[in-house]
């Protein structure tokens, strides 16, 4: 019975009106950087996707335009707030981010390769984990909440200097087992609605889920300023929202499960430009 309900629900929820395809458009940032927002799928997902497409193509005209200019992009307010924090000493060591890393330009390229294997720690780390490692062990400061405003704004600042660079997370070598764990999660149906990530974002991207245009669920645009809550949202906060929407108990932001899922989902966007902070619904 439950299977039937979810099958009926699936057919009722996903429908294909006209004009639901991703929009043909080109994202040029600040009239300078032409972003790669659709490109050939990387080899490890080419069996299921021909092309990988940024969520930018699934949003409305006004939302797409808002991301094209840093002044129009309200996400940049939070990047500017993080810039002040970058230069402000905190913790027992009297250090700020800039004490070791100097200007934020030193972070160029970092967002593109995270999550990343950390040899010394013997684990795959997200940017958030790396920021908290700096805070705790270099600055002697308190850890930030994983999806808190301070953290998400800082990740957006670090991401902003890599915009236009291709996402390029490593999935072989020591990160491989974590990547495989993430892949398994991506295809595992959860919750009362029995939906996997793939049910919406692989099998039904381009279709409408009620009034919403389903994207491929790419995370190259994170942290993302959502019109819904008018602030920056982190990858794990969005994962949590998605899993909750399947009516499942979710994993915790920062948990090994979500780190693995982030690595896998990031790898599905290898080749797309880093966009964070992007604008989404």
């Amino acid at each position: 019975m439950k299977k039937l309900t979810s099958a009926l629900l699936a057919s009722a929820v996903f429908c294909t009106p006209l004009m639901a395809d991703p929009v043909e458009d080109t994202l040029i940032l600040n009239e300078e950087i032409t972003m790669v927002t659709r490109t050939a799928a990387p080899a490890h997902v080419s069996d299921v996707l021909d092309e990988v497409i940024s969520g930018w193509h699934f949003r409305g005209t006004e939302t797409r335009a808002m991301q094209a200019d840093d002044f129009d992009n309200p996400g940049m307010i939070f990047v500017e707030q993080a810039e002040e924090v970058w230069n402000t000493a905190d913790g027992s060591e009297g250090k700020s981010c800039s004490s070791c890393h100097e200007g934020t330009d030193s972070m160029k390229g970092v967002r593109a390769v995270y999550p990343k294997w950390n040899e010394a720690a013997g684990e795959v780390r997200t940017l958030e984990m790396q920021v908290n490692d700096c805070r705790e062990n270099r600055m002697g400061a308190e850890k930030w909440k994983y999806t808190g405003g301070d953290m998400t704004n800082m990740v957006a600042l670090i991401s902003s200097v890599s915009r236009g660079m291709p996402v390029d997370v490593a999935i072989t070598g020591p990160a491989q087992s974590m990547w495989e764990q993430g892949k398994e999660l991506y295809y595992t149906r959860t919750g009362q609605l029995e939906l996997a990530c793939a049910s919406c974002h692989e099998d039904n991207y381009g279709n409408m889920i009620r009034a919403d245009h389903l994207s491929q669920g790419q995370i190259n645009g994170f942290p993302t300023y959502r019109l819904k809550n008018t602030k920056l949202n982190s990858v794990h906060a969005r994962f949590k929202g998605c899993v909750r929407d399947t009516r499942a108990e979710t994993f915790k932001p920062g948990s090994p499960e979500f780190v693995a899922l982030e690595l896998y989902v990031a790898s599905r966007g290898n080749g797309l430009s880093v966009e964070g902070p992007s604008i989404r619904n």
């Binding site: 002044f71 500017e80 008018t230």
Partner: protein, 109 residues
């Protein structure tokens, strides 16, 4: 003063005398509408920026009355005449009595 309020303005650095230029402004502010309720069901009191003005060398460019239907982080785009070199002054007035302002110089060239 509401927390984390920060004005941003975009004004060209130079213009020809008599030119019309485009100005954009954005200020970080929650614009609490007075329509929302907290988790306990109590109405969250209204707290918005209710007025925005732009002046150039003491003469007015635009004067806007804002209501709670203006989005979080109020954004305005408008045009101004630049008769001579001088300074644009931007002022935002908060319900709580706070006033936020910023200024931008423009040269003739």
């Amino acid at each position: 003063m509401a927390k984390g309020v920060k004005p941003r303005v975009k004004v060209p650095k130079t213009a020809a005398a008599g030119d019309t230029i485009t100005i954009k402004t954005l200020i970080s502010h929650k614009m609490e509408s007075g329509q929302r309720k907290d988790d306990d069901g109590n109405v969250i009191p209204r707290s918005i920026i209710n007025r925005f003005t732009c002046d150039f060398n003491g003469e007015n460019v635009i004067d806007v009355t804002l209501e709670p239907a203006i989005s979080t982080n109020p954004y305005f785009e408008f045009e101004a005449k630049v008769p001579e070199a001088g300074e644009f002054k931007f002022t935002w007035y908060d319900d709580d009595g706070s006033v936020y302002d910023t200024a931008k110089k423009i040269a003739i060239g």
